[in-house]
């Protein structure tokens, strides 16, 4: 494996007495889709929060492109090329889909300390934003206020925003959560299109999607990574099967 783009070394996080991230070490290789799966409450969102900088880790180190980012703020990490989507949609509701996405383009296109020219008239920003919206199939909804969009559309927008930043690493926290069957199809199609162009950490409950998309999978249970490997290796892993069989819905969710 080439040098990892993202490396976690012994990352720990406790909430009160509860270890939510328990000595997690992970390497994410360039251009791989690395899925993180696990039952509800396993600490998947917490892990994404630690990588993106929403949460400070209690112990351990996070390296991104060889640089120690453990102490950096979320905006600093974002500027290094770490983009994320949120499990619970987090867009600017007062902005149109286009302005939400153009803001993301703006983040990587020079200084935002520009005071007089209306940003909405900057063609370069709008064109890049439109192409991100097209990628997720929202071009026709560009002028719609995000707050007025359906849940599924917001999931698509969330992805368009992340793509528009042209990230080096994409952290996706359940991008399919709450999307209808048709939107799920479309989103999986989009993610497949990103494969090998982007490095992606994918947290997802939809096992069909995970096994179809992931190059490698890590299984998180009670804050611990109990297994990491290819989809085939994970499917065959007895420990993983035991952890999932202990869970009601997990048994069916795990495709065999």
């Amino acid at each position: 494996m080439s040098a990892p783009l993202l490396a976690l070394h012994g990352v720990q996080k406790r909430f009160g007495g509860l270890a939510v991230t328990d000595d997690v070490s992970l390497d994410i290789a360039p251009a791989e889709i690395h899925a993180v799966i696990g039952p509800n409450g396993a600490g998947k969102t917490t892990l994404i929060n630690e990588i993106s900088g929403v949460l400070k880790v209690d112990a351990g180190r996070i390296l991104f492109g060889g640089q120690d980012i453990t102490a950096l703020s979320m905006p600093r990490r974002a500027r290094l090329g770490l983009a994320r989507s949120f499990q619970i949609t987090s867009v600017v509701n007062a902005f149109s889909a286009l302005e939400n996405t153009a803001l993301a383009v703006q983040a990587r296109s020079g200084s935002s300390f520009r005071f007089l020219r209306p940003a909405a008239t900057e063609r370069a920003l709008n064109e890049a934003a439109m192409s991100a919206l097209e990628q997720v199939g929202l071009a026709a909804r560009a002028e719609t206020p995000a707050g007025a969009m359906s849940h599924g559309e917001k999931r698509q927008l969330e992805l368009a925003i992340a793509l528009a930043t042209e990230p080096r690493l994409l952290l996706l926290d359940e991008p399919l959560a709450g999307a209808g069957p048709e939107e799920t199809e479309r989103l999986i199609g989009i993610l497949r299109g990103l494969k090998s162009r982007y490095t992606i950490v994918l947290v997802e409950h939809d096992m069909q999607a995970v096994f179809a998309l992931a190059d490698r999978i890590s299984v998180l249970v009670y804050g611990r990574v109990i297994a990491t490997g290819t989809p085939d290796a994970i499917r065959a892993n007895p420990e993983v099967r035991a952890a999932y069989l202990g869970e009601d819905e997990g048994a069916e969710a795990m495709p065999c």
């Binding site: 979320m74 509701n93 902005f95 302005e99 983040a107 005071f115 007089l116």
Partner: protein
């Protein structure tokens, strides 16, 4: 670009009406004095609206920005400096510097804490002004003369002063509009609507908010310069927390959805206050009741009434 023009129409119409007012029967001294006061307070309200509506920074100390501008006029007047080319930039710089120093601390807080800390800084400015014995202390200071413009006694001419106020108000509004629509304003608005999203995209809200605070403070300083010249008198009362509260009230009364709300709110507030005070000696009670009703029944302020009516009509 048609919808954009429509969005700006209320402010442009209002500014045009103010410019035309002297020729529409509002040309006597009393009326011009009142309009000047309303327009200058509207300038301060528009700059405050930039913070409240644009950045989500609800300041309860904005009168201090006007105070710095006004006291710059006083202190320079005392030194014999009355040229607007020196006095105005000084007023703007003094208010901007105060905004920078206090904003750097206040903007680290949010919500109620931000309100309280801006109130506290405003009170500090108020007590400082009260203790300036050389400039009249509590009693205030009467200007020797209005500032002159490149040697001309331009501000002494009532009509000229009126148009200067219209122009200053229009400029403040226009600058605010441009700021909010710019890249900078987009980040500011995003950080207000969803700070987590802004940060996840790489924008640390702090420098954007602080810059907005300084710009709004500088605009408040310019309003203070005009206010001192309008009344030819400056007192600590100009910086009182009541004045800050009034400015905030004008902003909320007008509505924060656009800067024109503050324009409407300030003009409505000052004119209503003046009119009521001539109707009844206990007018303040009525004024208070009207303001409460406005807040209760106009969630988007006076500027939101057309949209509100349209919504009712559709039902």
């Amino acid at each position: 670009m048609l919808p954009a023009v429509r969005a700006e129409a209320p402010a442009i119409l209002l500014l045009a009406a103010l410019a035309a007012a002297p020729f529409l029967g509002f040309g006597e001294g009393y009326m011009l004095t009142l309009l000047a006061r309303a327009m200058i307070l509207a300038m301060a309200a528009v700059s405050l609206s930039l913070l409240v509506g644009g950045a989500g920074l609800v300041s309860m100390g904005h009168a201090a920005m006007m105070g710095f501008g006004a006291y710059a006029v006083v202190i320079l007047d005392d030194m014999g400096v009355t040229d607007a080319a020196i006095v105005l930039p000084t007023a703007i710089a003094a208010a901007g510097a105060f905004a920078l120093a206090t904003g750097a601390i206040a903007i680290r807080t949010s919500g109620v804490h931000f309100i309280m800390i801006t109130l506290a800084f405003g009170q500090m400015a108020f007590f400082t002004a009260s203790s300036l014995a050389g400039y009249g202390g509590d009693d205030g200071y009467t200007l020797y003369s209005r500032s002159d413009v490149l040697g001309l006694r331009l501000l002494d001419d009532r009509l000229a002063f009126h148009f200067i106020c219209v122009g200053a108000l229009a400029l403040t509004w226009l600058l605010g509009r441009l700021l909010l629509a710019s890249r900078f304003g987009r980040v500011l608005r995003a950080a207000k609507g969803n700070p987590l999203r802004a940060q996840a995209l790489g924008f640390d809200p702090f420098p954007y908010r602080l810059t907005a605070y300084v710009i709004a403070g500088a605009m408040g300083g310019a309003a203070g310069f005009l206010f001192a010249n309008a009344t030819e008198f400056v007192a600590p009362a100009y910086i009182s927390w009541q004045r800050s509260g009034e400015l905030l009230f004008m902003v909320i009364l007008g509505g924060v959805a656009g800067l024109h709300g503050a324009l409407i709110g300030a003009l409505g507030f000052v004119l209503l206050e003046e009119w009521l005070s001539h109707q009844w000696e206990h007018w303040r009670i009525l004024f208070g009741v009207l303001l409460i009703l406005a807040v209760l029944f106009l969630p988007n302020g006076l500027s939101g009434i057309p949209a509100q009516l349209a919504r009712v009509a559709r039902r």
